[in-house]
Point group: D2
Chain length 159, copies 4
């Protein structure tokens, strides 16, 4: 967590959802700590580290305390990572948390939410506090102990 | 290695090759021990175990002694695992050994070489001796020590 | 963290200290979160899991926020795990945090601090809040994410 | 395996055996491939890598084909690694293969068998072929694939 004044995260721009019957909006998650995990299905560090870590977070904390949301932020190999390929990937790996497809930008390249959150690549994780403010923003691997400590600190804040 | 009389492996039926300038034929590998690794790019155990193990074999043994060949045996989620998606997967993971796309069967389902080799699923590995005979045939994970021992025994046989 | 009213941890009873020039008392650590890691040098799970985890905690958090203290709670194989053997063990593994030898009980068996803390075996970890109260008490392995979350919550409490 | 002419290994000089009812002599193991694993109980790489690997070899291969023998080659911290401490270590870790205490040298320092085998430190492994000749001699970690390959090659040689 850095010293900047936290800003409320921009709304997720998602073209298709998986593992949820209703589209997810950030305001609907107010009151909970939110872990947004941005990944690409063909990104090796996402598959070996980021997604399994998001799954551990999803399993460890009560759902009403911590919400885990995956965001498929495709910025390369678009043809290989379309929504149907993602559906097969989610099915094979049995990722249990909601995953949204980040809305492609009109000109291609970095998709919409990824751009608005200023993510630098995948895997990235963004932690929101109970009020929806961005409190951690990380590109690359974070170890579990450090991630757990930040989640614990955010959980200790009043809703 | 079982007690059956070894049979010469049927020729690979490949519709497209990656990581090689020339199509690979089994007769061209005579004199070497051959590790065929059959995988699907969206098969979790292939990505976490089988392909990294094939890569370790590729790196450990001299090329003129042991040849590693990947075989993309797609039998499900065909639309998500076409040759272009495979190209992106190979690029992102930097698999260094030759990989062939197993020729799809006319009616879909199990592809041609996979059927001829009677593979039961992915990951599977098939070891050929210096004469091209099938000496090990395994579906699922094999640990490195056991795989190394069989390769070592095959290497000890005269060419 | 359970629902019982937290109690102030009893003082450490230590016959010899390593990795510190001064004996450590719990009151001297007030204001910090304290991780007490109880181990035996010949306990496999302590060596493979507990001590490396204590080391990660020691490295991750600022010293003035989190204090890690090892406690050698020998309750079996006393002759093999005396202070000189412990000194060799600490030297070889380069454990970087202070470690105290739990004062042997007059009749042997469970040593003094281990008894007062009601620890059931090794590895055990005990977390104290900034006021010295016991807030977590665990026998066996805890994963890093869960441990990090509790430390984070304790860090969020006012000193 | 190097290109030197292999030499018959010198006999083990052992002051005390564990996990065997009879002292083990190298001539009694003729006809089998032998893995000698030299370790110290307080050597971190022995505990995390070498001994578990020796255990995997012990479990994988039939006993009448491959014999695993541990050798406790204490050359430092002698007081902390005496035979009674070793007994506790073997008990706690449940090492399943025979382990001998290398006979201490009269003047201390490197023990007898370790000196005769010219081992440079721990962990070290020495592989003997079915005739008792030294075929591999390695200080430090060897990965399972490479070790398996050498064992496989030695197994392929006639008894």
């Amino acid at each position: 967590m850095d010293g900047d004044a936290p800003v409320i995260a921009p709304e997720l721009q998602v073209s298709r959802w998986f593992n949820t019957t209703e589209p997810i909006t950030l305001p609907s998650l107010r009151g909970r700590v939110v872990l947004l995990h941005a990944f690409q299905m063909l990104c090796p560090a996402c598959v070996s580290h980021g997604l399994p870590q998001a799954q551990r977070v999803h399993r460890l904390f009560p759902r009403e305390q911590v919400a885990v949301v995956g965001l498929h932020t495709v910025f390369e190999h678009h043809a290989a990572m379309g929504p149907d390929a993602l559906a097969a990937f989610i099915h094979e790996y049995r990722w249990p948390f909601p995953i949204g497809v980040d809305l492609p930008a009109p000109q291609g390249g970095v998709p919409t939410t990824m751009g608005q959150l200023a993510l630098r690549g995948t895997p990235s994780l963004v932690l929101l506090d109970r009020e929806g403010a961005v409190r951690m923003h990380h590109f690359g691997a974070v170890d579990d102990l450090a991630l757990g400590a930040v989640i614990g600190q955010l959980l200790a804040e009043p809703a």
